[in-house]
């Protein structure tokens, strides 16, 4: 069983580490996007005000569309987003229009630098920047490996309770095992939950057969599961769209005061127009929103989503647990720290595989060197790449065409480039230098931010801009963490000498005795 754990973990580990790290960053998806568009400042508007302002804009620009999607602003996003789908035109298909960001109060389009923002980390953590089905499949395979590694790890861990609180530093392999055990066992509920719910989120893709066996078309399945969408045909008769304010108020009353999150308007300005209001999922575990559909002409309620069955509710809660949209800021930081624990579990496991197999008096065999190099590339170089993504956002000119993709390229060039360059250095130096570079890159972010925007740390402190202050402080904390890793790697005894254990033993009594003396005084 132990070998299953070691090999499952090792083979999926490099990708899992990247999934954990970028997935952890995705807990702050809207916040990262806002940081990456420093031109925009959030303004507060009520849901009714923002919805009506967005509709006024859409009425002025594209009143004859088939469908309007309005994503209302909340405390986290701060802007209204709209997406309009034109009527299907068989002769000349209209080009897909980009999503627009609107000012919540005025409804005017906002212009900001083009960026993928936090969406990039989010997409990467389950699509891995691969063409469509392959990234999701690879992520799924790795998640299955992770789940199997969690179960086999619990079974093979002989001293789960005896070593529950044990972490011994400076003891070589012993320390890595302790760190791996502690990060895995102490946050085990989170690791199991996030792995399993991640798989369940894409379960309809990984295992489509139950739905295929019972439904002719996939749409029939979704209609049976989530209720049929209001898909009436346009009547062709023009009729004015009623104001949405009363509809939003009616929906809020029906939901016990919960605000709406999204508004979908079908066939605007037609006699068959419908307005569907979707409920927010903040502060609820179930991430599947319920909805109410109104007639756009009379304002009467036409239908509401059926109460979900137990299976759909369960799936919605699992999705919600994975996404963490329910979390208030305090709980979101908890989720973030838990995600880092997951990355630590995977990273220490990868290192442990190497440390365990390294012989003191024999040169490392090829597989060992390969794994060690891949570890450096995955664990030490990815953070540098993520920092490069954020730095590129500030350094690439705001008006440059195609800059959003350039930012993404910057992340991968730095990540893989650094991994390739680190091959030129001895493994131990490579650890120190790549981690050190990552620390420098993260520490540079607040500096570059202060130089290239007017929202540096001091200005943000003065303006009481919590988001930008926290972001800078978080970057400094991550830099400190990477720097700590580099320092620890630099202080490690030479791996190939005979004396790691002896050195460690010789080194430990000194600081403890000093401390004990100090405490005794």
């Amino acid at each position: 069983m132990a070998w299953i754990h070691a090999w499952l973990g090792l083979l999926a580990g490099w990708i899992l580490f990247a999934m954990f790290l970028t997935g952890t960053a995705s807990y702050f998806r809207p916040e990262i996007t806002r940081w990456m568009q420093p031109e925009l400042r959030s303004t507060h508007a009520s849901a009714e005000q923002a919805a009506q302002a967005a509709i006024n804009h859409l009425q002025a620009t594209s009143p004859g569309d088939q469908q309007w999607f309005i994503y209302l602003p909340d405390d986290r996003t701060g802007v209204t987003r709209v997406f309009a789908r034109a009527k299907p035109n068989p002769a000349k298909p209209a080009p897909r229009r980009p999503e627009l960001k609107l000012d919540p109060v005025t409804g005017q389009p906002l212009t900001a630098r083009d960026t993928k923002g936090g969406e990039h980390f989010y997409r990467f953590h389950f699509q891995l920047q691969l063409p469509h089905p392959w990234g999701r499949w690879l992520a799924g395979v790795c998640a299955i490996f992770m789940l199997a590694a969690i179960i086999s790890g619990v079974i093979t861990h002989k001293r789960i309770f005896a070593d529950f609180f044990t972490l011994r530093w400076r003891k070589g392999q012993r320390s890595w095992l302790d760190a791996h055990n502690a990060s895995a066992v102490l946050a085990l509920p989170f690791h199991a939950m996030i792995t399993y719910t991640g798989l369940i989120t894409l379960v309809a893709m990984y295992m489509p057969w139950p739905a295929q066996a019972n439904f002719k078309r996939f749409e029939d399945f979704t209609a049976a599961a989530y209720g049929a969408p209001a898909e009436g045909k346009a009547s062709g008769q023009a009729a004015p769209l009623r104001p949405v304010g009363p509809m939003i108020q009616a929906a809020e009353r029906a939901w016990g005061g919960d605000p709406p999150r999204t508004i979908v308007i079908r066939h605007p300005n037609d006699a068959a127009a419908t307005v569907t209001v979707l409920r927010t999922t903040a502060s609820r575990l179930n991430a599947r929103p319920d909805s109410i559909t109104f007639s756009g002409v009379t304002g009467q309620q036409l239908s509401k989503s059926p109460p979900p069955g137990p299976a759909i509710s369960t799936a919605g809660v699992m999705l919600g647990l994975h996404l963490g949209h329910f979390a208030d800021p305090a709980l979101r930081w908890i989720c973030f720290l838990l995600g880092l624990t997951g990355a630590a579990m995977v990273g220490t496991g990868q290192v442990l595989w190497v440390v365990k197999r390294r012989k003191a008096n024999a040169p490392p065999f090829f597989g060992l060197r390969l794994v060690e190099r891949l570890n450096i590339g995955a664990i030490a170089c990815l953070p540098a790449g993520m920092a490069a993504f954020l730095l590129a956002n500030r350094l690439i000119p705001a008006g440059l065409p195609g800059r959003a993709n350039l930012e993404v390229s910057a992340m991968f060039w730095v990540w893989f480039g650094l991994a390739a360059l680190s091959l030129l250095r001895p493994a131990r130096r490579a650890w120190i230098e790549t981690l050190g570079l990552a620390a420098v890159a993260f520490a540079t972010i607040p500096v570059v931010n202060a130089l290239t925007t007017d929202r540096g740390l001091v200005a943000s402190l003065v303006a009481a801009d919590g988001l930008f202050v926290s972001f800078d402080l978080a970057m400094l904390a991550i830099a400190a963490l990477c720097g700590f890793g580099a320092l620890k790697a630099a202080r490690q005894p030479e791996p190939r000498s005979f004396a790691p254990a002896r050195q460690a033993r010789a080194a430990t009594p000194k600081p403890t005795s000093v401390r004990e003396n100090a405490d005794a005084v």
Binding site: F165, T166, L167, R168, A187, F190, D328, L331, I334, T341
Partner: protein
């Protein structure tokens, strides 16, 4: 205070850790309560941290928040315990006082 459940569970884990011989003796304090008392106290505090979270956020979000905060408190305790054992025990007291203080306000 949104973190009171986590603060209490930190103290709970500290108590449970000190109830173990190898961690309790690492403090070098002679006047530690007996192991049984520490163990009972630890479990009681852990239960209290669950009650606090559920009372504050309701059963669904409360249990989620409790487990989440517990899973962060435990690694933090282990890091502190391995770095500065005495400080980790003192912080357990401090965190309880903080939780109590925010409960009053």
């Amino acid at each position: 205070m949104p973190f009171d459940s986590g603060l209490i569970s930190y103290a709970a884990f500290a108590s449970l850790a000190l109830a173990m011989k190898k961690h309790g003796s690492s403090l070098g304090w002679s006047a530690l309560p007996p192991q049984r008392v520490l163990r009972v106290l630890g479990w009681a505090l852990l239960a209290l941290s669950a009650i606090v979270a559920v009372a504050r956020l309701g059963p669904a979000l409360g249990v989620t928040a409790w487990i989440g905060q517990m899973c962060v408190a435990a690694p933090l305790l282990v890091l502190m315990l391995s770095w500065r054992p005495r400080l980790s025990a003192i912080l357990a007291g401090v965190s309880l006082v903080c939780a109590l203080f925010t409960a009053i306000h």
